[in-house]
Symmetry: C2
C-alpha cells in the first residue's frame, strides 16, 4: 500500500495534532477568525453542525422538551448565589462593562467612561442561573411540573489555549434545563438525556461512546451527579462528547424554584441540565478522518452524494449536464434513513479530478463522476469515500455501475456506509481498551511502553472521596491521565482498588483526554 | 356584538400599546428577563420563531446561499475602518473589557483588573466588518464569486427604551452577506433578497408589505442603497420588517475584499447585506392579533390544530382519550401547504374550557374539543381562531362536524385560514393608505384630524438630498412622521413635490412608525 499517494500532507501516525489541523483546513470546516480564541465555522463545517442540530433537535422535541431563548448577558449577582457554581465558572468569562464607544480624538474608539454599567454583565458561559430565574417565575404548583426547556445558543468561556472545535472561547451548543417535583424524576430525566445523547452520537454521528458517571472531581460546578458520554479518538485519547447533570436542589435553592405540592406545602424543585456542542464536530474529525481528509457519516453529511460532470468545453457538455441533472433529480427523490437523499450536482468551474479530491478531503460519502463515455454507456463512475483506495494497485477504487442500478441501490449504500463507519470506529475503540491491570505500576508501564496512542485502561477502584480522591487525581495527573467515567453498563467488580488495595466498588475508565 | 366578552382586558381601539403588551403576555410569547433590555422568548413565541426560521432558511438555501458562523466579538479596529459604519453603529454597543472575575473580598465578584483586555471587544451589532475580513481571505479570483453567506445569530444594540420583539438590546436574526464581481450582480442580489423577504413575510407570515427603497437619510450606515419591506400595523403605524442593502465597494475597500478578474486585474468586490429578525414576531402580533389574543397564521403555527379532550374523571375518559389520539394520528398524517400537519393533543391537567381560552389567546389556528357525546356521535366540535365569534348570539362560533369530514377537509381549512388572514390584513392596509394629498398642510391636517390610527399617506416628492433632505426630515419629525420607502411597484409621478413644489420624481410613503 506504500504506493498510495494520500490527499493530505500529514499522516495520523506521524503527527496527530498537526493532522487534525490539516483536516480542518483541507475539509474547509473552520478557520481562525483573528479574534482571540474565536473561530469562523465555514459552510461545510456549519452544514455538518446544522445536520447534527436538526437530528438532535428532533430527539429533544420528541421527548417533550420545548425550545426557548434566554438572554446572552447574565448579571454578576446570579453567579454570586450558588457557591460551587461561582467557584467553577467565575474565573474565565467575558465581562461587559460599558454600553457605548466614543471617539478617542486620535481617530480611534474607546469605551465611553460616561457609559459604564452600574453592574457588569457576564457573557453566558452556561445558563443555569438565568434559566433558574425564569423557572422560579414559571413554576407555582406541581401542575407546572415537569418544566422541560432547551436552548440552542452561543456561549463564551475564555480560553488561553484554543483548538478548533475542541476548545474555543465562543462555541455553539444546546443546553437542556428541566425542573421536577422529585429526585427520582430528575434523575430519570438526567438518564433520559444521557441516553438520547448516546443514541444521537452513535446513530447519527456514527461515533461509539461509553456512557457513565463522572467521578466527584469532574462534576459540573454545582451538580450532585454528572454523567457523560466518552468517545475514543484515533490517537487513543478520550473526548467527552456530551454531559448530563443532576443538580439536586442546589440551583433551585439559589434561584428560589419552588412549587406547592398537592398537599399545599412549598417544596424545592430538583433540576437537571444537559449539553452537547460544536465540540462533537471535532470528535467526528478525529473518529472518521483518515489520511485523505474527513469522512462524514451520511446522516450528518450536508451532501451525501456529489455528482461531478467531466466537461471538456465541447458541444457534448450540454448532454452530460442534462444527464447529470436527471441523475440528481432521480437520486434526490429517494429516501434513506427516514429522509430524502441530499444530492449536490457540482457545476462549479474546475477540472473534475481536482474537484474529486476536494470532495474526498471534505468527506462527501459518495462521489459520482460522469463523462461522455459513461453517459453513452448509461453508467456512472462511483467512489465510496469510506473505501477510497484499491490496495492492489494503489489507485482510487472507482466502480463503474449502470446508472439505474446505482440509483436503485443508493439509499441502501448510504445506510451501509453509515453502519460501516460506526462499526470500524467501534472495533478500533474496543481493541484499544485494556482491562485486567491490577497494580498502579502496570498502568504507568502501560502508558509508558504502549507507543504514542495507547488507548484507555479500565481499572477497579474503591471510589475514594475528598482528600483521598484528590490524591488519586494528582497521581493520575502525574501521568497526564484522567478518570473519564464509571461505565453505566460496566461489569461488576471482582478485585481491589488499584490505588489503595481496598476492595473495589466500581470500574473506571482512565485515559488521556482532550 | 356588544354582548361578546373578549378574552383580553384591553381592546386594540382603547390602548394599542397596552393591548400589545397584554397579547405578548396572554399568548405566552415572551417576558422581561430582569436583564436590562433583554427578553426571554418563551416556548410558544420561540416555536413561532423556529417556524419562521425554517421557512426563511429554506428560501435562503434555495437561492444558493450557504450558512456559516462568525464570531460574536468584533475587535474595535474593525469599526474604525469604515467611516459611515462607525458613525452609525459605534454609539450604543456592549463592550467587553475584561476576561475574568475575581472575588471582591466582600462576598461579591468584580472584573479582575489583571485580566483587562488589551483591545476591548464589541458584541456584534451586525457582522459586515467581521464577515468582510473572512471574505477578504476567501476571495482571490473571479472564480470565487459570487460568495453568498448567511448567518443565524444573536446581535446586541444597546437600547435605552425597549419594547418586546420590536426593540430589545439583544435580538435574534439572520444576516445575509454576499460579494460579487460587478455592481449589476450585487444589485440583482439586493433585489433577490428583498423579493425573498416579501414572499416569505406575505406567504408565510401572512403579513402584507410594500417593498421599496429607503430615502438617503434612512440608509444603513455605509450602504449605497437600502431597500425595505414595510408592513402596516393595526394602529396604522409602519413596521420595517426586513432590509436589503447594496453596499457598493465601501466595505470591500475597508476590508480589502479584492478579486483578480479574468484579465488579471485586481478589482474590489461589490457587496450586499440583508437581514430579518425576531422583530417580525412583533409584526405578526400587531397584524393578526385581536381582542382575544394572537392569531397565528397556520404556516408559522407550531401547532396548527390543538385537540382538547373533555374529561370528567370517569371511566369513559379512556375512550375519549383513545378517540382523540386516533384523531391526532389521522390529522398528523395529512399534508397542507407542502408540510405534514402539526397537531397537538393537549392532555395537560385542567378544564377543557379554560384550556380552550388559553389556546384562543395563544392563537392556535384550529381548536378541537371532544367530549363523550361527540365521540358517540362520531363528531368533533371545531373552533376557527380567525372566526371566533358568532355575531348573532355573542358566543364562540363552535361547529359540530362529522369526524371523518373534518379530517378530510383539515388541510384545505388551514390553507383557507392562511389566505384569509392575509386578505384581511391586506384589505385593511389598502383601506388605510391615503393618496392624492398635494399640499403639506393637507398632510398635517390628515394626521391631526384622522383619529388615533390614521394610517399612511402616499405623496410625491422631488427626492431632495443633503441639506434639503435634512430640512424635509425635520419637517416630518415635527409631526412624528418618517418616510418609509419609495414603493418598488409604485405608480409613475404626475405632480409636484409636496415639500418644495418642484416637479416630483417619485412617490413616497409617509407614516408614523415603530
Amino acid at each position: 500500500m506504500s504506493n498510495i499517494r494520500h490527499a493530505l500532507n500529514v499522516k495520523r501516525e506521524d503527527d496527530f495534532a498537526k493532522w487534525y489541523q490539516e483536516v480542518i483546513a483541507a475539509a474547509d470546516l473552520a478557520e481562525e477568525s483573528g479574534v482571540r480564541g474565536c473561530m469562523v465555522i465555514k459552510p461545510w463545517g456549519y452544514g455538518i453542525w446544522e445536520r447534527v442540530q436538526r437530528l438532535m433537535d428532533d430527539r429533544i422535541k420528541a421527548a417533550g422538551v420545548s425550545n426557548a431563548y434566554f438572554p446572552l448577558f447574565i448579571p454578576l449577582a446570579n453567579f454570586e448565589r450558588e457557591a460551587a457554581h461561582v467557584e467553577g465558572f467565575a474565573k474565565e468569562m467575558a465581562v461587559v462593562t460599558h454600553h457605548r464607544l466614543i471617539a478617542d480624538g486620535k481617530g480611534g474608539l474607546i469605551p465611553d467612561p460616561e457609559a459604564k454599567l452600574e453592574e457588569p454583565l457576564v457573557v453566558r458561559p452556561t445558563s443555569e442561573t438565568i434559566i433558574g430565574d425564569a423557572m422560579a417565575r414559571w413554576v407555582q404548583s406541581w401542575r407546572d411540573l415537569p418544566l422541560m426547556l432547551n436552548q440552542w445558543a452561543n456561549v463564551v468561556r475564555w480560553e488561553m489555549r484554543t483548538r478548533m472545535f475542541l476548545r474555543t472561547s465562543e462555541f455553539l451548543w444546546q443546553e437542556g434545563h428541566t425542573a421536577h417535583a422529585t429526585r427520582e424524576e430528575a434523575l430519570e430525566e438526567t438518564h433520559r438525556a444521557l441516553e438520547m445523547y448516546r443514541a444521537c452520537v452513535e446513530e447519527d454521528l456514527a461515533m461509539p461512546v461509553i456512557a457513565g458517571e463522572k467521578p466527584e472531581n469532574e462534576r459540573f460546578p454545582g451538580a450532585d451527579e454528572t454523567w457523560s458520554i466518552e468517545a475514543m479518538m484515533q490517537d487513543g485519547k478520550a473526548l467527552q462528547a456530551g454531559t448530563s447533570h443532576y443538580l439536586g436542589t442546589n440551583f433551585a435553592k439559589a434561584a428560589g424554584i419552588q412549587y406547592q405540592d398537592s398537599e399545599g406545602t412549598q417544596q424545592y424543585c430538583h433540576t437537571t441540565s444537559w449539553g452537547t456542542s460544536t465540540r462533537m464536530i471535532g470528535g467526528v474529525v478525529m473518529t472518521h478522518g483518515d489520511d485523505d481528509g474527513l469522512r462524514v457519516p451520511p446522516r450528518i453529511a450536508p451532501h451525501q452524494i456529489v455528482i461531478l460532470p467531466m466537461l471538456r468545453d465541447k458541444p457534448e457538455d450540454e448532454a452530460v449536464i442534462a444527464y447529470c441533472e436527471d441523475l440528481r433529480a432521480a437520486l434526490a427523490d429517494q429516501w434513506s434513513m427516514g429522509e430524502k437523499l441530499r444530492v449536490l450536482f457540482d457545476k462549479t468551474p474546475g477540472k473534475a479530478t481536482a474537484k474529486r479530491w476536494d470532495w474526498v478531503r471534505k468527506g462527501a460519502p459518495v462521489i459520482i463522476e460522469v463523462g461522455p463515455r459513461d453517459m453513452e454507456e448509461g453508467k456512472v463512475a462511483m467512489l465510496r469515500r469510506d473505501r477510497l483506495w484499491n490496495a492492489d494497485n494503489g489507485k482510487p477504487n472507482m466502480h463503474f455501475t449502470p446508472r439505474d442500478e446505482f440509483v436503485a441501490a443508493a439509499a441502501a449504500l448510504l445506510e451501509e456506509i453509515q453502519i460501516s463507519l460506526f462499526e470500524e470506529a467501534r472495533a478500533r475503540r474496543d481493541a484499544n481498551i485494556t482491562r485486567g491491570l491490577t497494580q498502579w505500576s502496570e498502568v504507568t508501564d502501560f502508558f509508558a511502553s504502549n507507543g504514542k496512542y495507547p488507548g484507555w485502561v479500565e481499572v477497579q477502584w474503591a471510589k475514594p472521596t475528598g482528600d483521598a480522591l484528590e490524591k488519586v487525581v494528582e497521581q493520575l495527573k502525574g501521568e497526564k491521565l484522567t478518570i473519564r467515567n464509571v461505565p453505566r453498563d460496566g461489569e461488576p467488580v471482582d478485585g481491589t482498588c488499584i490505588f489503595t488495595g481496598a476492595p473495589a466498588v466500581e470500574r473506571i475508565l482512565v485515559a488521556r483526554a482532550y
